[in-house]
Symmetry: C2
Subunit: 177 residues, 2 copies
């Protein structure tokens, strides 16, 4: 994993890929969940928001530790992404059960995922909408990219295990960042 | 436009497409902006969050009227999506300038967009994070689909006018909604 500029983080998340969110709970147990409900909030420092349901086992760890890592999987990991969404850390050590490799981060305790092409270490910076909507606001404090996966195609969830895979890329002259 | 079940709205937005957001200001002027920073918040009633910058001309209309329509364009509208992102309603009547057709909605004053394959009429339900983060929480109160566009491909912004278009679809047995 190589360091990735924080100024470019939004380019990874703005397209709306399914991601994996890792946490570390008070007992030192790492967990991973599948997440599609996220959005960018600001460019730099990169801020994002996500919805982690209070029904999810990761919820308490995220709220208590105020840290997580968001890992972006390419389409080759689609089966593991579904497995992560269909099992709960309540019952199983998911990293081992699914076959994902935790790596230590630099600024947060929640592990990176070796198989993902990008990893974003995040701190929780606002919880005002957690009680009502399960919305966490996060700041990305460290970003990593795997140069061994130079052209990853991401997946986008359309419901009930149906995913659309990145297709062709088009470029239109634009002043938009 | 046919009515679309609110229970399925998340399937349109969860994949993270670029959308258009329309508003109506106090003078009765409709405006439209390009929006990628949105996420689902709950399934039913469908809640979502979005970031509309206080620099955007739509910001005041959205905050004052507490209403908007989110329209989902297919790839054929990519040029118009970029035009909407590169011009401001401060200077120009964007619907006419871009060549988009406003249609009356049923429950909100902000217009639907005839050329988009889906239109979601929304009410603002939470503004606590507007001052700090420009995050609005919305409830979709009415949804419409154009059955004349049965297999639309959406676009996802990767920054600076580069978009990835929906590619192949894969289905993996899953208990996830």
């Amino acid at each position: 994993m190589q360091e990735f500029p924080l100024s470019k983080v939004y380019q990874l998340l703005e397209p709306g890929p399914v991601v994996l969110l890792t946490t570390l709970d008070r007992e030192g147990q790492a967990n991973v969940m599948t997440l599609s409900w996220h959005m960018m909030v600001d460019f730099e420092p990169p801020l994002l928001a996500c919805v982690v349901s209070s029904n999810d086992y990761s919820f308490n760890a995220l709220r208590a530790s105020r840290e997580c890592t968001i890992a972006v999987p390419a389409v080759e990991l689609a089966d593991k992404v579904v497995q992560a969404g269909n099992t709960s850390g309540r019952n199983v050590g998911k990293f081992q059960a699914i076959g994902l490799t935790p790596l230590p981060g630099r600024q947060v305790q929640a592990p990176l995922i070796a198989e993902c092409f990008a990893n974003l270490e995040c701190k929780v910076i606002d919880t005002r909408l957690v009680n009502k909507f399960n919305i966490f606001v996060l700041e990305v404090v460290q970003a990593w990219i795997d140069s061994g996966q130079p052209h990853p195609k991401t997946i986008h969830h359309q419901g009930y295990g149906q995913f659309v895979v990145d297709g062709e890329t088009i470029l239109i002259a634009s002043q938009m960042r």
